[in-house]
Subunit: 328 residues, 2 copies
Amino acid sequence: MSIRTAIFGYGNLGKGVELAIRNNPDFNLVGIFTRRDPESVKIYTPGVKVYHAEKVFSMKDEIDVLIICSGSATDLPKQTPELAAYFNVIDSFDTHANIPVHFEKTDAAAKAAGKIAIISVGWDPGMFSLNRLYSACILPDGKDYTFWGKGVSQGHSDAIRRVPGVKNGKQYTVPVPEALEAVRSGKNPELTTSQKHTRECFVVAEDGADKAEIERQIKTMPNYFDEYNTTVNFITEEELAEKHGGIPHGGFVIRCGKTGLNNENSHIIEYSLKLDSNPEFTASVLVAYARAAYRLSKEGFSGCKTVFDIAPSYLSIYSSEELRKHFL
Amino acid sequence: MSIRTAIFGYGNLGKGVELAIRNNPDFNLVGIFTRRDPESVKIYTPGVKVYHAEKVFSMKDEIDVLIICSGSATDLPKQTPELAAYFNVIDSFDTHANIPVHFEKTDAAAKAAGKIAIISVGWDPGMFSLNRLYSACILPDGKDYTFWGKGVSQGHSDAIRRVPGVKNGKQYTVPVPEALEAVRSGKNPELTTSQKHTRECFVVAEDGADKAEIERQIKTMPNYFDEYNTTVNFITEEELAEKHGGIPHGGFVIRCGKTGLNNENSHIIEYSLKLDSNPEFTASVLVAYARAAYRLSKEGFSGCKTVFDIAPSYLSIYSSEELRKHFL
């Protein structure tokens, strides 16, 4: 049984999904949809056609699952509910505060159409959320901590590039080792986001730009940098391309909880990711949940789901018997 | 809504369940069942009665979920199917090779009775299994590694105590730091269990015993020690009680997988546990899954399940709305 899959949106994430599908033999990529001129888009997979986004509705009966690879800021809030009225869909909506609204809209559309939608799939939200949930259920008397990095923050890199005199730049979010150790020690410290992370910037300045002023503007930028311990390194465009061309990321979810007659026993649950490519890893999670969407739909379920609602066995290519035998 | 819960078997694990229930306000402990003389058993919870194990069947209608806290060697294979014919049950059956048979027997009994059984709940099998599964689904092109420890192995401690001249003893399984680092580096090394672990023994010898001979017998013991790098430390009974009285355990599940056009990107997913009390942590997992069993049963499901078959939201005291808002 082959899962006829299409990709909607072909940026870094869409490319990652295209590559992830190669590692999952039960998937069959039937098309890639883009808002750009399809002729201008080169893809990796021979034999697969690129279509204009508007064409997607006419291919309703040829697609089992549509993986939506658009941005969370303005595209997904509109596209996911719209597409869930026609397709089983997956997205990686990651604006945490707006998830409840996004869920309600998508749920209404999917239910009316008898389709499955799984939203906010990836690693945070996604695998990190799962680990926060499992750990909190096991150790209710405890506290959890999420650290991000070391990794590239797209939003902060964009912010750097808007500073006058900056030609190019990249920002890494870096967990503070002492904060990590304090959490792992079981002391349950109170830590703000800025106490848990430092920000490392690599900046290419324009010729003749005032570097001291650039550094001052970055370090004092409200919301983005002012509350953080920020380092600014000036480098050449060549060095930026050579040493900072990737999109690595990762992080840690740690819960410390207590049990015992007098809370005398501590337990630390730690989940961590170290990713060479943030979009390719996120894409790999999307594909696993696309399998779940396909199966749930086949079983007659409909409506919007999140990673919390999906039994793990639905993600696997293996049967329940095989899973019990080899993974349990 | 209160989940009327009973504990069947009152050793370390049963005691852990009794304590874990205190951290979960939706549970109500209605009884503890033991094969010992109930009069001889002292428990922590005022007002809860201790009954003889045989009495359990007569309390069929007063118990929503029965948490079976017996051993995997001979008790659970018999008790779980037997009790699943009357109760929703949870067990921590951990003989990996026999899980398929245990599943089939329990499934038949539970289905016939319209009850839910969740078997092999704990951390390995259990949370470690979940992490092996999730990681394998996300990174199919990869390899996973399970390390155990540092922690007390009951089986190996028992083996030490059977050596002539040994009065008492405790064995710790310890992950080899270099093996852990090799795995984390993404090299996907081939490693046997003995290359991943060393064994550290603390032994109290009887007066006048031949310590060299004890050490030789331990280190050359087939299956248990002969293939491992084993250290034997002789200590006093007092030191054993003082420094090695606990039952700590833990370990690591690490998967390294590749993505990209030419597998050029590596990703490391690592899950680890550091537990002061192995039985209390296992008990905490059992209670979370007892909540799931109760809910699944209320929804009309029946049959045997494992952690792979349970959507994470079923473990939580919170509603789906709350989970999406606060955990996703």
